[in-house]
Symmetry: none
Subunit: 260 residues, 2 copies
DNA sequence: ATACGCTCTCACGCCGCGTGAGGGTCAAGC
DNA sequence: GCTTGACCCTCACGCGGCGTGAGAGCGTAT
C-alpha cells in the first residue's frame, strides 16, 4: 500500500498543495488518514478519486457538481457524458453564431454592409443569459409565442444561408422519417421511435444554446401542440402528424425521466 | 442618434445591468453621458465598444486585458477582429474534436451495456474504463494520439479470443520478467534491461498499427505514469512497478535517441 | 397624490483557489 | 543536544466578475 503526503500527491497529479487542502475543506477529497500531527496521508483509493475529480473538472463541472456526481452511488457515466455532450454542442452553436457575427462586423467595418444594432449581438450574448431567456420563453410559450418565433428568426438570420439550409435539410430528414414511422402505424409511445426522437432532440439541442433536458423537450412538445403555427406546419408534412409528434416527444421525455 | 439606458443596452446585449455598472466602475465602458440624476446613457459608439468587449471576453481575456487592448491607440479593430476570428475557429476545432471523443465514448459505453451478457474475456482494462480513459487521454495529450488508440482498440476488438489471449499471455510474460528484474534490484536505467524492454516495445509495436518510435514509446511511458488505471495495473503485478516500468521505458527511449 | 417601474449607490456573497503569516514537525548533520 | 532546512499545519485575506439584495431617488400615468 502506497502512502502519499500532500506534496507527493500534488506533484503526482500536477496540482497544488493548496488545492488538496481545499478539496479536503469542502469534503471533495478527504485524506485516507490524518496523523496525530494533523498531517494528511492519501492512499491508492484517494488517488483514483482524484483522477476522477480532475477529469470532470476538465470537462467543466463545478466542484459541487463533481462531488454530487462522484458521491451518487447510482452515478451513471453514460448519462453524465450525454450531459457533457449537450453542453459542448450548445457551446459549439454559440461559436458558430459568433463567427458569423464577427464576419458581418468585419464586413460592416469595411463599409460593405449596414448592420442593425440587434444583429451586432447575435451569438455574442452570454450562454447563461440566453439560456435563461429561452427557458423563460418555453415556460410561457402561450403568451409569448410571437417573441419566441421572432427570436428564432433573428437567430437563424444570423446564420449563413448555407448553414441554415443544411440545418433545415437535416430537420426535414428527421421529420420525414418520423412521419413515415407514423404512417407505418407506429404509436407515439413506441420505443422503436427512440433513435429518431433522440436525433430530433439532438437537432433541437443544437439550435438552442442551452442543454435540452427531457423536461425542456416536453415543454417544447407542449408548445408544438398548443400553437397553431406549429400544428399547421406538421400537418402539412402528414395528416395527424401535428398531434402525433408532440405525443411521441412527450412519451419519450416521460420515459427518460422515469429512468432517472 | 440612438440613445440607450442601462436596461435597454443590457437587454440588447444580453447582459445584466449590474455588468454595465461594473464595467463603468472599472472604467472599461463609460456611458456617453451621465444625467444630472446620475442616470447612465449610452450611444452608438459605446454599443460598438461593448461588442468588442463581449467578443474578447468570450475568448477568455480578462477585463483588464480587454481594456488594455481596446485602449491601445494603435488598436486596429479590423485586425483585432480577424485575430479573434482565427482564435475562435481554433476553439471551434477543439470543440469538434471533444465532441467526437465524447461520442465515441458514449458509443462504447452503450455497446458495453448492450453486450454485457456476452462478456467473453477481460482485456487489459474494462471497456468501460477504457472508454473513459480514452477521452481523458485525448483531452490531455491532444488529437494526435487518437489514431494510435483507435488502431489499438479496433485491432484488439477485431481479434479472435484465442489470438487475443495469446497476445495477452505474451505481454504477461514480458511484464513478469521485467517485474522480476526490478525485484532483483535492477534500477530502471540498467542497460541489462534492454533486451526485455526491446521485447516489450516490440509487443507494443505489434498491437499498434503504427511504427513505435522511441519517441512514441516514451510518450506511452508518460501515459503509463500519468493514468491511474495503468499505475494500478502495474502495481498489481509488483509493488513499485507502476513507477519503475515507465522509468525504464523512458530511460531506454532516451538512450535510443542519443545513439541516433 | 399615489403607485409603479426604472434608476442610483453602497456593500456583502460566491467559487476556486493563490498567497502569505505564524507556527509545529521531522530527519540529517554538527 | 542543537541547529538547519524542508516539510507540514491552520487561519485568513484577496482576486475576478459579477449576483443579489437594501434603501433611496426619479419619471410618468392614472
Amino acid at each position: 500500500m502506497e502512502i502519499y503526503t500532500v506534496s507527493e500527491l500534488a506533484e503526482l497529479a500536477g496540482i497544488s498543495v493548496r488545492t488538496l487542502h481545499h478539496y479536503d475543506e469542502i469534503g471533495l477529497l478527504r485524506p485516507a488518514r490524518v496523523g496525530d500531527n494533523r498531517y494528511r496521508y492519501y492512499g491508492e483509493e484517494e488517488l483514483l478519486r482524484l483522477q476522477q475529480i480532475l477529469i470532470h473538472r476538465e470537462l467543466g463541472l463545478s466542484l459541487g457538481e463533481i462531488s454530487a456526481v462522484l458521491d451518487d452511488p447510482a452515478f451513471d457515466r453514460l448519462e453524465s457524458l450525454i450531459k457533457q455532450r449537450d453542453r459542448l454542442e450548445a457551446e459549439a452553436g454559440r461559436h458558430r453564431r459568433m463567427l458569423k457575427t464577427i464576419d458581418r462586423t468585419i464586413a460592416k467595418l469595411k463599409g460593405e454592409k449596414a448592420m442593425k444594432d440587434t444583429d451586432l449581438y447575435s451569438g455574442v450574448v452570454s450562454p447563461q443569459k440566453q439560456a435563461e431567456y429561452e427557458s423563460w420563453l418555453i415556460e410561457r410559450y402561450g403568451e409569448n409565442i410571437r417573441g419566441e418565433i421572432e427570436a428564432n428568426t433573428v437567430k437563424t438570420q444570423s446564420m449563413s444561408p448555407t448553414d441554415h439550409a443544411g440545418l433545415m435539410q437535416e430537420l426535414k430528414e428527421i421529420e420525414d422519417a418520423l412521419a413515415q414511422a407514423m404512417q407505418d402505424g407506429a404509436p407515439p409511445q413506441a420505443r422503436s421511435l427512440d433513435p429518431l426522437i433522440e436525433r430530433h432532440r439532438s437537432w433541437v439541442a443544437r439550435t438552442w444554446s442551452k442543454p435540452c433536458t427531457p423536461d425542456a423537450y416536453a415543454n417544447l412538445a407542449n408548445l408544438y401542440e398548443a400553437h397553431a403555427d406549429f400544428v399547421e406546419r406538421y400537418e402539412a408534412i402528414a395528416k395527424g402528424f401535428g398531434a402525433w409528434l408532440p405525443a411521441a416527444m412527450q412519451s419519450w421525455a416521460k420515459r427518460q425521466e422515469q429512468t432517472c
